[in-house]
């Protein structure tokens, strides 16, 4: 088992290495796109920050100069890329706070939310998907499929409001909104994160249940399952030890994609539950045209996407020996 584990980490490191080039390309492309898009969208940060367009022209001009906005777009772009290369993401136009610090503060709540939601989604979808597959065509299957369709088709904010109503307003078990850092009060932190995580977890479970159900049904029809049965292996072991193990391959792929989707789901969820995460940071600063902050936040999200991808890749290699050998040779 420990050999397997160390093998796993070696694979991850190697996969990450393979991905460095890809990472660089993705990051530069995203950076360029965000940079251009933000400047194409109408709205001047100075005017928005100033709040009025009746400001003294001289004041406006000096502010623009201070922020570097008087230079040409190409100049701004080159300076920005150069600064990023040395780890300087710039300062907020509004508060002057370093962007890296703003992102550093916003990252933990978002990551916690994403991980909790993913864990809830996976923990719900494996047993439900397997149960539906084993009883395909029965009332149990129909019930689970209905749950899954509701999860997929209901907008997250509706799920959020329903959960808030049930657990916070009606049962008074959990807070309506807000955030407490984990290192300040772990219990309160979890109580505050429970509903947002459950919201996103249910959305994720909706998709993953379907994948699990379909994959297990497919795998149960495979020859190796019949072989396992022919050996006299107990049915539960046939299902979990053989069919589910193979169904894990498509499941992991989709779970990786869903993990990415969670990040965009986090924007809405963080707004509803007043969690100071990356999503909130982005939304607030888009409205303020605070270019450096938005750019930094988008890059952070893109970076997380690439990491998830590398992780899924590595996991896939651990789960599928056929890919492992193809890679080794």
């Amino acid at each position: 088992m420990s050999a397997r584990l160390s093998h796993f980490f070696v694979t991850i490191v190697r996969a990450a290495g393979n991905r460095l080039v890809e990472l660089a390309i993705v990051m530069v492309s995203v950076a360029t796109m965000v940079f251009v898009l933000l400047r194409v969208v109408p709205g001047d940060p100075v005017l928005i920050l100033g709040g009025l367009d009746t400001l003294d022209r001289a004041v406006i001009e000096s502010a623009r100069e201070q922020m570097g906005l008087d230079r040409s777009m190409l100049e701004q772009y080159v300076i920005w890329l150069g600064n990023m290369a040395i780890g300087d993401f710039g300062q907020s136009l509004r508060s002057g706070a370093p962007v890296s610090q703003l992102i550093g503060n916003a990252l933990p709540p978002t990551l916690q939310l994403g991980i909790m939601a993913l864990v809830i989604g996976i923990a719900l979808s494996i047993p439900l998907g397997v149960a539906a597959a084993r009883r395909a065509g029965t009332a149990t299957d129909a019930g689970i499929t209905t749950f899954s369709i509701i999860g997929i088709s209901t907008p997250p904010f509706v799920i959020a409001l329903a959960l808030i109503y049930l657990f916070a307003v009606h049962l008074r078990l959990l807070p309506v909104a807000g955030y407490v850092p984990f290192d300040e009060d772990p219990l309160e932190n979890l109580r505050h994160m429970a509903l947002p995580a459950l919201t996103l977890g249910l959305v994720t479970a909706g998709v993953l249940v379907r994948i699990m159900r379909r994959s297990v049904i497919d795998e149960l029809g495979e020859d190796y399952v019949r072989t396992a049965r022919s050996k006299g292996v107990a049915e539960s072991r046939v299902v979990y030890g053989h069919a589910v193990r193979n169904a894990a391959l498509p499941f992991v792929t989709i779970a990786g994609i869903e993990a990415g989707v969670l990040l965009s789901g986090a924007i809405i969820t963080e707004t509803i539950f007043a969690i100071p995460g990356l999503g909130r940071l982005m939304i607030d600063n888009i409205n303020q045209r605070d270019y450096p902050v938005v750019q930094g936040a988008v890059l952070a999200v893109a970076f997380i996407y690439v990491l998830i991808n590398a992780f899924v890749d590595a996991l896939y290699r651990v789960l599928d020996p056929r890919i492992r050998t193809r890679l080794a040779s």
């Binding site: 396992a228 049965r229 022919s230 050996k231």
Partner: protein, 337 residues
């Protein structure tokens, strides 16, 4: 074998009927099949594609695919009637009856090592320790003549050739010394040289372990010298049944005769073979009508064949056939040309 008379047969199938589809509108794919395999004996189940060989075998092992059901019949393993679709069948599989399947490429779990799959079969017997199971797994791989067995335990199926995978399947099937081994076209997916090796292996190991063999094949040429008895299926029904030697030298049923005429002689260079004219009947369309299932393709067909279904009846010593015109006289060979 001296005790054939006193010992119950390893496998006795009586009037087995298998259907597919929703109840009420089932089509019958195995229709009243009966045969016995004595302890340590060998029976060949032959017939063209779609004749119901696999479904007969899967019914016995309780491994019928989803929409198939045993409609009626009696199956005895070592004299004891079993219900193959019951939960309790699980503990009989691998011990009382084991199966080697047709396609070794898909029969093994692609994400589990050979060793894990073999050890899983061995440890169905819960008393076996992990260590003892590993030792037995190596032994089994050596028995099926896989070199460097200990090392090969950690290999995955995709690292093995088709022939080697089939050897692994045989090792798995024999892991718990089953009374009956069902081999469903075990060599169809393999090249000719490998076919011979695999059949020899099955032959040797069944003898060694004292397992009775139910060999399914559509290649009647494989049967001679390997099996004692033969049972010819067509459209889910038994056409002819008897000792291999008599059936092959003097087929009593025109269908058996047709199958045998289609065997390429080993010593001659024959540029073409005589196939049986027409398409194999889908069993689904048979069963209800009062006609002989083979009538539409039979070269000897008479009026009665379209109106009366012939029952299986003795036509010679130990030989039964289901044909109105099967001859009981030794030496008579039905002529198809």
């Amino acid at each position: 074998m001296a005790d054939v008379e006193t010992n119950p047969p390893a496998l006795a199938v009586h009037d087995l009927r298998v259907g597919v589809g929703p109840s009420g509108r089932q089509s019958v794919v195995v229709d009243g099949v009966s045969f016995t395999v004595p302890a340590g004996g060998r029976l060949a189940l032959v017939g063209e594609s779609g004749s119901g060989k696999s479904m007969t075998a899967m019914a016995i092992a309780g491994l019928l695919p989803g929409r198939f059901r045993i409609l009626s019949g009696d199956i005895k393993l070592a004299g004891e009637t079993i219900d193959p679709m019951a939960r309790s069948m699980t503990r009989r599989r691998g011990r009382d009856v084991s199966v080697v399947f047709q396609d070794p490429m898909s029969a093994l779990n692609p994400v589990m090592t050979i060793g894990a799959q073999l050890i899983e079969a061995i440890r169905v017997d819960t008393a076996v320790s992990r260590k003892a199971a590993r030792k037995r797994a190596i032994e089994l791989l050596e028995e099926v003549q896989i070199a460097r067995a200990a090392e090969r335990l950690n290999a995955y199926p995709h690292e093995f050739s088709g022939g080697m995978r089939q050897r692994v399947m045989i090792a798995i099937a024999l892991a718990n010394r089953p009374r009956v081994l069902i081999a469903d076209e075990p060599t169809t997916a393999l090249d000719v040289t490998t076919q011979v090796q695999i059949l020899r292996l099955i032959d040797d190991l069944c003898r060694l372990e004292g397992a009775a063999l139910l060999l399914i094949t559509h290649d009647i040429g494989l049967v001679e010298g390997l099996c004692d008895d033969i049972c010819v299926l067509y459209g889910g029904r038994v056409m002819e049944r008897g000792p291999v030697a008599s059936v092959i030298s003097q087929p009593g049923h025109p269908y058996s005769n047709g199958l045998i005429s289609a065997i390429p002689p080993l010593d001659e260079d024959v540029p073409w073979l005589e196939p049986i004219a027409g398409e194999p009947a889908a069993a689904a369309h048979l069963g209800k009508g009062p006609a002989c299932p083979f009538a539409p393709r039979c070269p000897m067909v008479k009026q009665v064949c379209h109106t009366d279904r012939p029952d299986l009846q003795p036509i010679g010593p130990y030989v039964d056939a289901a044909c109105h015109f099967a001859s009981a006289q030794p030496g008579h060979r039905v002529n198809t040309s």
